[in-house]
Assembly symmetry: C2
Homo-oligomer: 111 residues x 2
Amino acid sequence: MAMISKRNLHCPVARSASVVGDRWTLLILRDLFQSGVCRFQELLRSLEGIAPNTLSARLKTLEAKGVVERRFYEQHPPRAEYLLTEKGRKLGPVIRALYEWGEKHGPKTSA
Amino acid sequence: MAMISKRNLHCPVARSASVVGDRWTLLILRDLFQSGVCRFQELLRSLEGIAPNTLSARLKTLEAKGVVERRFYEQHPPRAEYLLTEKGRKLGPVIRALYEWGEKHGPKTSA
């Protein structure tokens, strides 16, 4: 995802934003918090409008950052499912805060 | 910013993500929480690497969403400064949660 400049390396908000500062990423996390475990196709269906390669890229980044774990539930053919790691579950307060703000102040119309 | 699909209109997380689901936006909010009022040039300096037109676009979106207010501190030539609205200040828990996660779990290296 985004590069972090030297100065922003020292800012905790910037460090978080470099991991979750992306709309699709936040929705992937929401789904994983909600469902515990999600298959690729389930995420694809839930995140209406996301391109499969975008979803795939976001999941790879989250895996590389240690936030999401990929697990195979079938070997032939290989089929993966995704879940939060311990570090990923610690993002709960972020998703909760977004939920609460969105409920009261989020836009009600598409724009 | 991003379009919200019909289904996601009902999800508070998606509604929030449509406003703040962007790395630069989160850093703008961080600066406004930290400083109270920021001038364009101050934001530009703080958000190392952001293009002026990107910053301008993010601020316009935040203003349109009712999160940020633009105020003129000079008329000739017109010079603006930015501050959070009441609705924007309610995003405090989001920024705080990002701060806390970043402090403990955020990446320490640029990537």
